[in-house]
Amino acid sequence: MLQVLMLAVQIKRDSQGRLIRVWTVSAVSPVERSGAWGIGKVRDAWRHYFALSDTARQNEELIRENGQLKLEIMQLQSKSAEADRLASLLNFKQKQAKVPMVLARVIGSSADANSAVVYLDQGLHEGIRKNMGVITPEGVVGKVIESYGDTSQVLLLTDRDSGVSAMIADSRIHGQVGGMGEPLLDMKHVGADEEVKIGDRVVTSGMDRIFPKDLPVGTISQVKPGTAFKQLRVRPSANIERLEEVIVLLTTDPLTLKQEAPAAGNAAVTPPSSAQPISGLTNTKPAEKHP
């Protein structure tokens, strides 16, 4: 009975029982953090000392470099396309602003099998706040739904309650990409008469004011006709099922891809707890100062 009342109060007041969550997360996250640290150490020892020490290290370097190059290509493609479309309208001489970001490690997941949520090892102390975007060099991952002292909770794109404003990269057809509780995503609100084909790239539209425009979301993997809207399935660009490290964009201000950016930055190699600007992103408002 008490729990029914608690549910009612939470729904009525739009509250999520933060105090209880803070206690539990504070109690559990050190164990998760230690576990993640321990597993990381054991795995590192295995990779670097017992199994092909040089190969494993080179592989890590290449994966990291590959991530940086993907990010750079994405930014260059976006710059080029946007320049073509809007060259006559936009002033590309915007003053470059730096967007702070932080690299975080995934230390845990939801205790509920029905929701796609992960915990990160960075929180309020690193400037992470609710509704901040979470990405990897491959693409969009999700958004922060709760932030605690040294931990934050991220709602993944594959969750049923998740959603991001997106568009088809080439045709610029807008829609809403959300999770279905399974590996593939669902793209809604794309008219039945629009032309969409399998393999089309889906990118963020920037309309949700969480993610900058033109970040990769995924590729169309299924197209079915519908009465008013097409039924589209999207395969996420980011490997959402096997996340280990992610980038949190430390601002909730609207972002847009900047026009004249230096080469893609060191997003993937930035050590945790050091907020670094992500190259190619500009903040349309002055950077927010997080205490």
Partner: protein, 174 residues
């Protein structure tokens, strides 16, 4: 340990199992941490519901409806606070499961692996049913009653339950 599925009418024949101090608490914490930790490294592990298995096991073993109810409430609320669901959703479901498991445990001998498999599968389905019902009725969040993933999860959890319970039996006071 009796290896036959023994249905007994008289409650006086049912043995109430005791555990060493702190065993239940440690098992609960370990299950919750594993539940939140394993899927990061083994994505398929997200189908497991270790807190539910712990609720069922200790409910069936202790055979005291009050204890089962309180244990279910405690585990459910902890699980809620580690999820994005409103506090109370899993609390309600596991309270019911804890109560039912201990009530059934007080009437039936549930030591046989087949009985354990069947009970765990039934409790898993009931737990999911309660969660979906609460989500539909109280939270206005429509969720499917049945998916193939749910069926898979039901079977996987029931199989795991049989092995886990066998391991947990060793923690009983002799």
């Amino acid at each position: 340990m009796n290896d036959t599925f023994d249905l007994r009418i008289s409650e006086s024949h049912i043995e109430v199992h005791k555990f060493h101090g702190g065993t239940i608490l440690l098992c609960v914490i370990f299950a919750l941490v594993l539940q939140a930790f394993l899927p990061v490294y083994i994505p398929k592990a997200s189908v497991l519901d270790l807190p539910l298995l712990i609720t069922i096991y200790f409910g069936l073993s202790r055979r005291n409806p009050s204890t089962g109810l309180l244990l279910g409430t405690f585990i459910g609320l902890l699980q809620d606070s580690l999820s994005k669901t409103p506090i109370g959703l899993f609390g309600i479901a596991k309270t019911v499961i804890g109560y039912l498991a201990s009530s059934i445990g007080a009437r039936l001998d549930t030591e046989h692996p087949l009985a354990r498999f069947a009970l765990t599968a039934a409790f898993f389905a009931l737990h999911q049913g309660i969660v979906v019902l609460v989500q539909k009725l109280l939270l206005a969040q429509p969720q499917p009653w049945f998916t193939t993933r749910l069926l898979e999860a039901c079977i996987v959890n029931a199989i795991l339950g049989v092995f886990l319970y066998h391991f947990l039996d060793r923690l009983r006071k002799s």
